[in-house]
Amino acid sequence: MEVAGEVLASESQLHVLAVDDSHVDRKVIEKLLKISSCKVTTVESGARALQFLGLDEEKGSLGFNGLKVNLIMTDYSMPGMTGYELLKKIKRSSAFREIPVVIMSSENILTRIDSCLEEGAEEFLVKPVKLSDVKRVMNDCIMRGETGGNKRRRVDKRKFEDDNHASSSSSSSSIPSSPSSPLPSSPSTAATSSPLHSLKRAKLRDHN
Protein backbone atom coordinates (compact mmCIF):
# COMPACT_ATOMS: atom_id res chain seq x y z
CA MET A 1 0.00 0.00 0.00
CA GLU A 2 1.19 3.47 -0.79
CA VAL A 3 2.02 5.63 2.17
CA ALA A 4 0.02 8.86 2.29
CA GLY A 5 3.21 10.91 2.32
CA GLU A 6 4.44 9.42 -0.95
CA VAL A 7 1.20 10.10 -2.74
CA LEU A 8 1.21 13.69 -1.53
CA ALA A 9 4.86 14.35 -2.38
CA SER A 10 4.36 13.56 -6.04
CA GLU A 11 1.22 15.65 -6.31
CA SER A 12 2.33 18.67 -4.32
CA GLN A 13 5.12 19.87 -6.60
CA LEU A 14 4.19 22.22 -9.40
CA HIS A 15 5.19 20.89 -12.80
CA VAL A 16 6.20 23.74 -15.05
CA LEU A 17 6.67 23.57 -18.80
CA ALA A 18 9.18 26.21 -19.90
CA VAL A 19 9.37 27.18 -23.56
CA ASP A 20 12.27 29.20 -24.97
CA ASP A 21 14.38 29.01 -28.10
CA SER A 22 17.48 30.30 -26.31
CA HIS A 23 19.73 27.64 -24.69
CA VAL A 24 20.97 30.11 -22.13
CA ASP A 25 17.48 31.20 -21.13
CA ARG A 26 16.22 27.62 -20.93
CA LYS A 27 18.99 26.69 -18.56
CA VAL A 28 18.44 29.77 -16.42
CA ILE A 29 14.68 29.36 -16.16
CA GLU A 30 15.12 25.66 -15.40
CA LYS A 31 17.41 26.49 -12.50
CA LEU A 32 15.15 29.28 -11.23
CA LEU A 33 12.22 26.87 -11.20
CA LYS A 34 14.12 23.98 -9.61
CA ILE A 35 15.34 26.26 -6.85
CA SER A 36 11.69 27.20 -6.33
CA SER A 37 10.91 23.49 -5.80
CA CYS A 38 9.21 22.86 -9.11
CA LYS A 39 9.45 19.96 -11.48
CA VAL A 40 10.59 21.38 -14.81
CA THR A 41 10.36 20.35 -18.42
CA THR A 42 12.03 22.65 -20.93
CA VAL A 43 11.32 22.67 -24.65
CA GLU A 44 12.73 24.83 -27.40
CA SER A 45 9.62 25.74 -29.36
CA GLY A 46 5.87 26.21 -29.29
CA ALA A 47 5.45 23.18 -31.52
CA ARG A 48 7.39 21.00 -29.07
CA ALA A 49 5.36 22.43 -26.20
CA LEU A 50 2.12 21.43 -27.91
CA GLN A 51 3.51 17.97 -28.63
CA PHE A 52 4.46 17.58 -24.99
CA LEU A 53 0.99 18.57 -23.89
CA GLY A 54 -0.51 16.21 -26.41
CA LEU A 55 -2.10 18.97 -28.45
CA ASP A 56 -0.25 18.31 -31.66
CA GLU A 57 -2.86 17.30 -34.23
CA GLU A 58 -0.36 15.45 -36.36
CA LYS A 59 1.20 13.30 -33.71
CA GLY A 60 -1.79 12.85 -31.47
CA SER A 61 -0.77 12.25 -27.88
CA LEU A 62 2.51 10.49 -28.62
CA GLY A 63 4.56 13.21 -26.97
CA PHE A 64 2.60 13.24 -23.75
CA ASN A 65 4.54 11.74 -20.88
CA GLY A 66 1.72 11.52 -18.37
CA LEU A 67 2.85 14.25 -15.99
CA LYS A 68 0.24 16.92 -15.58
CA VAL A 69 1.46 20.43 -16.36
CA ASN A 70 0.48 23.06 -13.78
CA LEU A 71 2.02 26.13 -15.38
CA ILE A 72 3.48 27.14 -18.71
CA MET A 73 6.15 29.81 -18.96
CA THR A 74 6.96 30.82 -22.48
CA ASP A 75 9.23 33.26 -24.25
CA TYR A 76 7.38 35.65 -26.54
CA SER A 77 9.76 35.95 -29.50
CA MET A 78 10.46 32.55 -30.92
CA PRO A 79 10.88 31.48 -34.55
CA GLY A 80 7.97 29.54 -36.01
CA MET A 81 5.29 29.85 -33.36
CA THR A 82 5.57 32.87 -31.08
CA GLY A 83 4.71 32.67 -27.39
CA TYR A 84 1.58 34.66 -28.16
CA GLU A 85 0.46 32.10 -30.74
CA LEU A 86 1.20 29.30 -28.28
CA LEU A 87 -0.83 31.13 -25.64
CA LYS A 88 -3.79 31.39 -27.98
CA LYS A 89 -3.66 27.73 -28.90
CA ILE A 90 -3.61 26.71 -25.26
CA LYS A 91 -6.40 29.04 -24.22
CA ARG A 92 -8.56 27.88 -27.10
CA SER A 93 -8.19 24.22 -26.26
CA SER A 94 -10.78 22.74 -23.94
CA ALA A 95 -8.28 20.35 -22.39
CA PHE A 96 -5.60 22.88 -21.52
CA ARG A 97 -7.22 26.31 -21.23
CA GLU A 98 -7.09 26.06 -17.43
CA ILE A 99 -3.33 25.90 -17.33
CA PRO A 100 -1.94 29.31 -16.36
CA VAL A 101 0.42 30.74 -18.97
CA VAL A 102 3.12 33.29 -18.21
CA ILE A 103 4.80 35.18 -21.03
CA MET A 104 8.44 36.27 -20.84
CA SER A 105 9.84 38.92 -23.11
CA SER A 106 12.92 41.09 -23.33
CA GLU A 107 10.80 43.84 -24.84
CA ASN A 108 8.60 45.90 -22.59
CA ILE A 109 6.01 46.89 -25.20
CA LEU A 110 2.66 47.95 -23.80
CA THR A 111 0.56 46.76 -26.73
CA ARG A 112 2.30 43.40 -26.55
CA ILE A 113 1.62 43.10 -22.83
CA ASP A 114 -2.01 44.08 -23.35
CA SER A 115 -2.63 41.55 -26.09
CA CYS A 116 -1.09 38.76 -24.04
CA LEU A 117 -3.17 39.60 -21.00
CA GLU A 118 -6.28 39.89 -23.18
CA GLU A 119 -5.62 36.46 -24.57
CA GLY A 120 -5.54 35.07 -21.02
CA ALA A 121 -1.91 35.19 -19.92
CA GLU A 122 -1.54 35.29 -16.14
CA GLU A 123 1.50 37.49 -16.15
CA PHE A 124 3.98 39.13 -18.44
CA LEU A 125 7.55 39.02 -17.17
CA VAL A 126 10.22 41.27 -18.60
CA LYS A 127 13.51 39.49 -19.22
CA PRO A 128 16.00 38.84 -17.84
CA VAL A 129 13.85 36.86 -15.42
CA LYS A 130 14.92 36.95 -11.79
CA LEU A 131 14.29 34.62 -8.89
CA SER A 132 11.90 37.16 -7.34
CA ASP A 133 9.79 37.05 -10.54
CA VAL A 134 9.57 33.27 -10.41
CA LYS A 135 8.70 33.29 -6.71
CA ARG A 136 5.94 35.80 -7.34
CA VAL A 137 4.50 33.66 -10.13
CA MET A 138 4.61 30.60 -7.84
CA ASN A 139 2.81 32.46 -5.08
CA ASP A 140 0.14 33.61 -7.51
CA CYS A 141 -0.33 29.99 -8.61
CA ILE A 142 -0.70 28.82 -5.03
CA MET A 143 -3.23 31.52 -4.25
CA ARG A 144 -5.05 30.72 -7.43
CA GLY A 145 -5.27 27.05 -6.53
CA GLU A 146 -6.48 27.66 -2.99
CA THR A 147 -9.12 30.21 -3.88
CA GLY A 148 -10.40 28.14 -6.77
CA GLY A 149 -9.31 30.48 -9.51
CA ASN A 150 -10.88 33.68 -8.23
CA LYS A 151 -8.26 35.78 -9.92
CA ARG A 152 -9.52 35.15 -13.45
CA ARG A 153 -9.64 38.15 -15.67
CA ARG A 154 -11.97 37.23 -18.45
CA VAL A 155 -15.76 37.19 -18.24
CA ASP A 156 -16.17 34.05 -20.33
CA LYS A 157 -14.22 32.08 -17.75
CA ARG A 158 -16.89 32.50 -15.11
CA LYS A 159 -18.29 29.12 -16.06
CA PHE A 160 -15.03 27.47 -15.08
CA GLU A 161 -14.78 29.53 -11.94
CA ASP A 162 -18.09 28.09 -10.80
CA ASP A 163 -16.83 24.58 -11.48
CA ASN A 164 -13.70 25.27 -9.46
CA HIS A 165 -15.65 26.70 -6.57
CA ALA A 166 -17.66 23.49 -6.40
CA SER A 167 -14.66 21.17 -6.39
CA SER A 168 -12.25 23.05 -4.17
CA SER A 169 -14.38 25.12 -1.85
CA SER A 170 -13.44 22.83 1.02
CA SER A 171 -9.78 23.66 0.55
CA SER A 172 -10.04 27.40 0.89
CA SER A 173 -10.20 27.61 4.67
CA SER A 174 -8.10 25.07 6.51
CA ILE A 175 -4.88 24.32 4.65
CA PRO A 176 -2.47 26.92 6.10
CA SER A 177 -3.57 26.47 9.69
CA SER A 178 -4.18 22.74 9.90
CA PRO A 179 -1.65 21.23 12.29
CA SER A 180 -2.08 17.72 10.93
CA SER A 181 -1.46 18.65 7.31
CA PRO A 182 1.83 17.13 6.21
CA LEU A 183 2.19 19.71 3.47
CA PRO A 184 3.99 22.96 4.18
CA SER A 185 2.90 25.79 1.88
CA SER A 186 2.77 23.44 -1.07
CA PRO A 187 1.28 24.70 -4.29
CA SER A 188 -1.78 23.01 -5.68
CA THR A 189 -3.03 22.81 -9.21
CA ALA A 190 -5.94 24.92 -10.24
CA ALA A 191 -8.79 22.46 -10.46
CA THR A 192 -9.12 19.01 -9.04
CA SER A 193 -5.99 18.06 -7.14
CA SER A 194 -5.84 20.56 -4.28
CA PRO A 195 -3.82 19.37 -1.25
CA LEU A 196 -7.00 18.62 0.65
CA HIS A 197 -8.25 16.42 -2.16
CA SER A 198 -4.92 14.59 -2.27
CA LEU A 199 -5.13 14.06 1.47
CA LYS A 200 -8.63 12.64 1.15
CA ARG A 201 -7.62 10.33 -1.66
CA ALA A 202 -4.61 9.11 0.29
CA LYS A 203 -6.73 8.38 3.33
CA LEU A 204 -9.16 6.37 1.23
CA ARG A 205 -6.29 4.31 -0.08
CA ASP A 206 -4.96 3.63 3.39
CA HIS A 207 -8.31 2.18 4.37
CA ASN A 208 -8.05 -0.47 1.70
Binding site: K31, S106, P128
Partner: protein, 141 residues
Amino acid sequence: MDRNRLRNQVASMRRSLFDQGYLDDQFIQLEELQDDTNPNFVEEIVTLFYNDSARLIQNIEQALNSSPIDFCKLDDYMHQFKGSSSSIGAKKVTNECTAFREYCNAENAEGSFQQVKQEYAILKRKLEVYLQTVRQASQTA
Protein backbone atom coordinates in the same frame (compact mmCIF):
# COMPACT_ATOMS: atom_id res chain seq x y z
CA MET B 1 48.63 31.29 2.04
CA ASP B 2 48.21 30.47 -1.61
CA ARG B 3 44.47 30.05 -1.17
CA ASN B 4 44.03 33.43 0.45
CA ARG B 5 45.97 35.09 -2.30
CA LEU B 6 43.80 33.43 -4.92
CA ARG B 7 40.62 34.30 -3.07
CA ASN B 8 41.67 37.93 -2.85
CA GLN B 9 42.44 37.88 -6.53
CA VAL B 10 39.00 36.47 -7.28
CA ALA B 11 37.35 39.13 -5.15
CA SER B 12 39.19 42.01 -6.75
CA MET B 13 38.69 40.70 -10.30
CA ARG B 14 35.02 40.29 -9.59
CA ARG B 15 34.75 43.77 -8.12
CA SER B 16 36.41 45.31 -11.12
CA LEU B 17 34.18 43.46 -13.58
CA PHE B 18 31.21 45.11 -11.91
CA ASP B 19 32.83 48.49 -11.29
CA GLN B 20 33.91 48.79 -14.90
CA GLY B 21 30.43 47.90 -16.13
CA TYR B 22 31.23 44.61 -17.82
CA LEU B 23 28.74 42.76 -15.65
CA ASP B 24 25.48 43.76 -14.02
CA ASP B 25 22.98 42.48 -11.48
CA GLN B 26 21.87 39.59 -13.64
CA PHE B 27 25.30 37.97 -13.21
CA ILE B 28 24.76 38.12 -9.46
CA GLN B 29 21.41 36.37 -9.98
CA LEU B 30 23.31 33.54 -11.67
CA GLU B 31 25.89 33.39 -8.88
CA GLU B 32 23.07 33.09 -6.37
CA LEU B 33 21.63 30.16 -8.26
CA GLN B 34 24.88 28.23 -7.88
CA ASP B 35 24.87 25.79 -4.99
CA ASP B 36 26.25 22.44 -3.87
CA THR B 37 23.92 20.53 -6.18
CA ASN B 38 25.18 22.61 -9.08
CA PRO B 39 28.63 23.99 -8.13
CA ASN B 40 29.61 24.93 -11.70
CA PHE B 41 26.38 26.57 -12.71
CA VAL B 42 27.85 29.96 -13.59
CA GLU B 43 30.59 28.42 -15.68
CA GLU B 44 28.09 26.18 -17.47
CA ILE B 45 25.84 29.09 -18.36
CA VAL B 46 28.76 31.21 -19.51
CA THR B 47 30.02 28.36 -21.68
CA LEU B 48 26.57 28.01 -23.24
CA PHE B 49 26.69 31.74 -23.87
CA TYR B 50 30.07 31.46 -25.66
CA ASN B 51 28.72 28.66 -27.86
CA ASP B 52 25.53 30.52 -28.70
CA SER B 53 27.44 33.73 -29.35
CA ALA B 54 29.97 32.08 -31.66
CA ARG B 55 27.12 30.70 -33.74
CA LEU B 56 25.25 34.01 -33.78
CA ILE B 57 28.34 36.02 -34.69
CA GLN B 58 28.95 33.72 -37.61
CA ASN B 59 25.33 34.09 -38.76
CA ILE B 60 25.47 37.86 -38.40
CA GLU B 61 28.67 38.16 -40.40
CA GLN B 62 27.19 35.97 -43.09
CA ALA B 63 24.12 38.19 -43.18
CA LEU B 64 26.30 41.29 -43.39
CA ASN B 65 28.30 39.81 -46.24
CA SER B 66 25.31 39.02 -48.36
CA SER B 67 23.96 41.59 -50.77
CA PRO B 68 21.52 42.89 -50.40
CA ILE B 69 21.67 42.68 -46.61
CA ASP B 70 18.64 40.98 -45.13
CA PHE B 71 17.99 43.43 -42.30
CA CYS B 72 15.11 41.41 -40.98
CA LYS B 73 17.28 38.35 -40.43
CA LEU B 74 20.04 40.54 -39.07
CA ASP B 75 17.72 42.09 -36.53
CA ASP B 76 16.54 38.63 -35.54
CA TYR B 77 20.09 37.43 -34.85
CA MET B 78 20.91 40.63 -32.98
CA HIS B 79 17.79 40.20 -30.88
CA GLN B 80 18.96 36.72 -29.91
CA PHE B 81 22.49 37.92 -29.20
CA LYS B 82 21.22 40.77 -27.10
CA GLY B 83 18.88 38.40 -25.29
CA SER B 84 21.53 35.95 -24.20
CA SER B 85 24.00 38.71 -23.28
CA SER B 86 21.36 40.24 -21.09
CA SER B 87 20.53 36.88 -19.54
CA ILE B 88 24.06 36.42 -18.24
CA GLY B 89 24.45 40.04 -17.17
CA ALA B 90 26.92 41.06 -19.89
CA LYS B 91 26.14 44.75 -19.60
CA LYS B 92 28.49 46.33 -22.14
CA VAL B 93 27.83 43.69 -24.78
CA THR B 94 24.07 44.13 -24.33
CA ASN B 95 24.42 47.90 -24.71
CA GLU B 96 26.49 47.53 -27.88
CA CYS B 97 23.83 45.22 -29.30
CA THR B 98 21.15 47.80 -28.55
CA ALA B 99 23.18 50.55 -30.19
CA PHE B 100 23.83 48.39 -33.22
CA ARG B 101 20.15 47.64 -33.69
CA GLU B 102 19.20 51.26 -33.34
CA TYR B 103 21.72 52.81 -35.66
CA CYS B 104 22.29 49.98 -38.06
CA ASN B 105 21.65 50.77 -41.68
CA ALA B 106 23.26 49.89 -44.99
CA GLU B 107 26.09 52.39 -44.61
CA ASN B 108 27.37 51.63 -41.15
CA ALA B 109 26.28 48.03 -40.49
CA GLU B 110 29.68 46.44 -40.85
CA GLY B 111 31.53 49.04 -38.79
CA SER B 112 29.03 48.98 -35.94
CA PHE B 113 29.08 45.25 -35.72
CA GLN B 114 32.86 45.30 -35.29
CA GLN B 115 32.23 47.24 -32.10
CA VAL B 116 29.84 44.58 -30.87
CA LYS B 117 32.35 41.87 -31.69
CA GLN B 118 35.11 43.74 -29.95
CA GLU B 119 33.11 44.25 -26.79
CA TYR B 120 32.17 40.58 -26.78
CA ALA B 121 35.81 39.52 -27.24
CA ILE B 122 36.91 41.69 -24.31
CA LEU B 123 34.21 40.27 -22.05
CA LYS B 124 35.00 36.69 -23.06
CA ARG B 125 38.68 37.15 -22.25
CA LYS B 126 37.97 38.75 -18.90
CA LEU B 127 35.40 36.14 -17.93
CA GLU B 128 37.67 33.28 -18.92
CA VAL B 129 40.47 34.58 -16.73
CA TYR B 130 38.09 35.33 -13.88
CA LEU B 131 36.37 31.94 -13.93
CA GLN B 132 39.71 30.16 -14.22
CA THR B 133 40.90 31.97 -11.11
CA VAL B 134 37.66 31.04 -9.34
CA ARG B 135 38.26 27.41 -10.21
CA GLN B 136 41.86 27.55 -8.99
CA ALA B 137 40.79 29.17 -5.74
CA SER B 138 38.20 26.48 -5.05
CA GLN B 139 40.62 23.67 -5.86
CA THR B 140 43.44 24.92 -3.63
CA ALA B 141 43.34 23.07 -0.31
